[in-house]
């Protein structure tokens, strides 16, 4: 561990600071939209808060976590120093400057456009430039990961790339593919409008470009958690990874199928046709296959551990697992939330059925369970696992770590289960104040308060998480394990892996074919039918 120690430390602290801010804002938002009167509530403060909550979690927490954990994997899995660490620090600086630019513009109330931007609503140009800097930082990280893998492969001809690094590079390749959408929207439509160079915008085109990014970005957030599932959890449970080949295949399937499916975010949009919506729904159905594969492969790996610890009978291995270890506990809770969130997702993606739940709290429950639940709880577990290596001290109290994980799980369920019911009842999204005088909405009040209680539990858990990390600084015993010891070995460690599962040339070609087939006409139509444009509505300057 040479360069990566400080890099990972810096990135993860920026990520968790953004996380804590977003958590506090999230709970205030739940209070604001509940029947209980909340302080500081105006439309402007509420929607600025939603923008900050989304930006902090979707852009800052995730990008910095992916980059920080990527540097850690690159050095420990490949067991060689990171190439060009200077560029890694330049990228970090770019990301921090970009984040500050975005945060300042939001706090001055000049960016109430939410983190998914709603053109023709246009915020201050500094908000968008801030996000461009964060994306640019992540692009530098992608190049560093590709270079690190290339160097390792030249130094180890013919040998399979360690699974953790293969997955990290798959994530980087997918991220390079998917940021093309949001980059095109920002550079050609939104930023020129924010600079005042254009007075109108093609809203249909910008929504389609953003949908290109909108699905693969959630897999960009998800893959570090899946790296933990495949490479850290079997080791933590005392077992072996059931199949290394299937692990590689799962990450390749994510790369291929998460990109040409963005239109399932626009199923209710008028400007995209039924035919292409159906095509992308069929491809979306295949996106659930790698997740189901993971459930089985990790289940099998845990069964190996459970049997080794004396688990008997069909499910006896479950009880025999070392649940007192945070990584194992987090995995169990993560899969439970993934099941619930996945159920919500299957209904969201089902073509005409999306009409029942689109833009309701059902969707909010889906992504809080999968991103806020499965992904973030594994971010906690990853942090707990690598903090001893970063600080050189052993974990002071596993009990507090387990409590924090349980609180997060319980808080997430209490918050999101009512949202499923409210979603089916028609509670719509992004609302600052509900009219509880209306009989239909009045019936929602008690459910909203229950989900607020879940939010408060999540806040307690989040603050306990930060406390647990800080507690490492006062811990005394030195860290025992070597960093490399975190990674699991497979039942059959792969001596030779087919070239297709050791590089991305074939998969890039297939992604290109799929993107042309799935997004070709949906994007070209805006230039063929010359769709009318809408006037820019600025939210950042004096009337």
């Amino acid at each position: 561990m040479t360069h990566a120690r400080n890099l990972t430390f810096a990135h993860l602290w920026v990520a968790f600071i953004a996380f804590t801010i977003a958590l506090v804002l999230g709970v205030w938002q739940m209070w604001a939209r509940s029947p209980l009167p909340a302080p500081f509530l105006t439309a402007s403060t509420y929607f600025s808060s939603v923008t900050a909550h989304g930006t902090a979690t979707a852009y800052v927490l995730t990008t910095f976590m992916v980059m920080g954990f990527g540097y850690y994997v690159a050095e420990t899995a490949l067991a060689r120093p990171l190439p060009a660490p200077r560029w890694a620090w330049i990228a970090f600086a770019l990301g921090v400057v970009g984040t500050l630019m975005a945060v300042v513009t939001i706090l001055t109330g000049r960016a109430a456009v939410l983190f998914t931007f709603y053109p023709p609503l246009i915020a201050s140009v500094f908000y968008y430039l801030g996000l461009v800097l964060v994306v640019a930082a992540s692009w530098i990280w992608c190049v560093l990961m590709l270079v690190a893998m290339g160097q390792w492969k030249r130094a180890n001809p013919g040998r399979p790339v360690p699974l953790a690094m293969f997955a990290t590079v798959a994530n980087a390749v997918m991220w390079l593919w998917t940021t093309v959408g949001v980059a095109a929207e920002l550079l050609f439509q939104v930023i020129p409008a924010a600079l005042g160079l254009k007075a109108e915008m093609d809203v249909g085109l910008s929504r389609t470009l953003f949908s290109w990014t909108l699905h693969a970005i959630v897999y960009f957030w998800l893959i570090p958690s899946y790296i933990a599932f495949y490479t850290m959890v079997p080791q933590a449970a005392g077992g072996r990874l059931y199949s290394d080949t299937m692990g590689r295949l799962t990450f390749v399937l994510f790369l291929i199928y998460s990109l040409p499916v963005g239109l399932h975010h626009l199923l209710m949009d008028p400007q995209q046709s039924n035919a292409f919506k159906f095509l992308q729904v069929a491809l979306t159905a295949l996106v659930s296959v790698p997740t189901l594969l993971t459930v089985f492969t990790i289940g099998a790996s845990l069964e190996i551990a459970g049997r080794l610890r004396g688990g008997r009978g069909l499910f006896g291995w479950i009880a025999a697992l070392p649940w007192e270890r945070p990584m194992v506990l987090a995995t169990g809770l993560a899969f439970l939330m993934l099941g619930l969130g996945g159920f919500g997702g299957l209904i969201n993606m089902s073509y005409g059925m999306n009409a029942m739940v689109h833009n309701t709290s059902w969707v909010t429950a889906h992504f809080h369970l999968i991103f806020g639940g499965t992904v973030v709880i594994m971010y906690f577990a990853i942090a707990y696992a690598i903090w001893p290596t970063l600080t050189g001290r052993a974990a002071p109290s596993l009990a507090l770590q387990r409590l924090q994980l349980w609180l997060w799980f319980i808080g997430m369920l209490v918050m999101t289960l009512p949202w499923h019911t409210l979603g089916l009842l028609g509670q719509w999204r992004r609302v600052a104040t509900f009219n509880y005088a209306d009989p239909i909405i009045a019936a929602w009040g008690p459910w909203v308060i229950v989900s607020l209680i879940g939010g408060v539990i999540l806040l307690a858990s989040g603050l306990l998480f930060v406390y647990n990390l800080l507690e490492f600084n006062v811990a005394r015993e030195p860290n025992a394990e070597a960093p490399g010891a975190l990674y699991a070995t497979a039942v059959h460690p792969p001596a030779r892996v087919p070239a297709t599962l050791n590089g991305f040339r074939l998969w890039n070609a297939l992604v290109l074919v799929l993107m042309v087939l799935a997004y070709g006409y949906p994007l070209a139509q805006f230039f063929i039918i010359k769709s009318p444009e809408a006037l820019v509505h600025r939210v950042d300057e004096r009337r």
Partner: protein
């Protein structure tokens, strides 16, 4: 990179391509052909029409007839917004200054009204708001004995020049007026509106960083009587040039006390 083509790769490459092409073929067969044709038959549409609708080449749903409308256009205002117009309104010009001399008698040389009870302040007002009202006076969508006559001879370019000219002036400094503070219910209407009556916050459209409708005017620095009179005109329907009755639907839900309170609030508020 060290991946030379390896014979054991061929099955992977084969299987991957077959899987993807079969999913694509399945989707094209059902999504592009079978679903539209069968749905179209149920709605009395021929196969070609319903396939074109499903592909998004023709408007309408493949499963239902497309409604028609022969309604005549009866717009409440004839302003036609465009990007070019918005850009022109953002550029003050000399022509505007010369024309503005005609307006000084009531609106003041630099857009500061000589009598805020009767004539609105134009200094620092949104150019789009001034342009729309001038346009409506000329087209008769809004009637006023003096302004209808003043607007009649103006061409569109002149109206744009005038609007850009007055919008370029700094806003008037607030004269200390001993109006009673409007009170919390009024400030709640301004900042949060009233969901029970479906009234959005006034600042959702009239606030500084609101991103509201293009022609929504700035209300600060206007005379109390003028603001109250306009709100009452919207409430009674005497003034009806607001696009899609936005202001009429809000004014109709406001009580007289609230109208006076809101007028007082905006007249003494510098920046909001």
């Amino acid at each position: 990179m060290s991946d030379e083509p390896d014979p054991r790769d061929r099955p992977w490459r084969l299987w991957a391509s077959v899987a993807i092409l079969s999913v694509f073929a399945f989707s094209v067969l059902f999504g592009f052909v079978l679903l539209p044709v069968i749905q179209g038959r149920g709605a009395g549409l021929d196969a070609w029409t319903s396939i074109c609708r499903a592909l998004g080449i023709a408007p309408g749903s493949p499963a239902a007839p497309q409604p028609t409308s022969d309604a005549k256009a009866q717009p409440t205002t004839r302003v036609a917004w465009s990007a070019g117009l918005m850009e022109a309104l953002a550029r003050p010009s000399a022509a505007g200054a010369t024309l503005a001399s005609g307006c000084a008698a009531c609106h003041g040389r630099d857009g500061r009204s000589v009598d805020t009870k009767l004539y609105p302040d134009l200094a620092g007002q949104s150019a789009a708001a001034i342009y729309k009202q001038l346009y409506d006076f000329k087209q008769g969508s809004r009637a006023n004995p003096v302004m209808s006559a003043m607007a009649q001879p103006l061409t569109e370019e002149q109206m744009v020049a005038l609007s850009a000219h007055f919008a370029s002036f700094p806003v008037r400094a607030i004269a200390p007026v001993d109006l009673a503070a409007p009170g919390e219910p009024i400030e709640r209407l301004v900042a949060r509106g009233d969901p029970a009556r479906g009234i959005p916050a006034c600042n959702a459209c009239h606030g500084d960083q609101s991103g509201g409708p293009v022609e929504a005017p700035r209300l600060t620095h206007q005379g109390v009587q003028y603001l109250a009179a306009q709100l009452r005109a919207f409430k009674s329907g005497e003034r009806r040039n607001d696009i899609y009755s936005r202001m009429r639907s809000v004014a109709a839900a406001l009580s007289d006390g609230e109208i006076d309170g809101l007028a007082a609030f905006y007249s003494i508020t510098r920046a909001y």
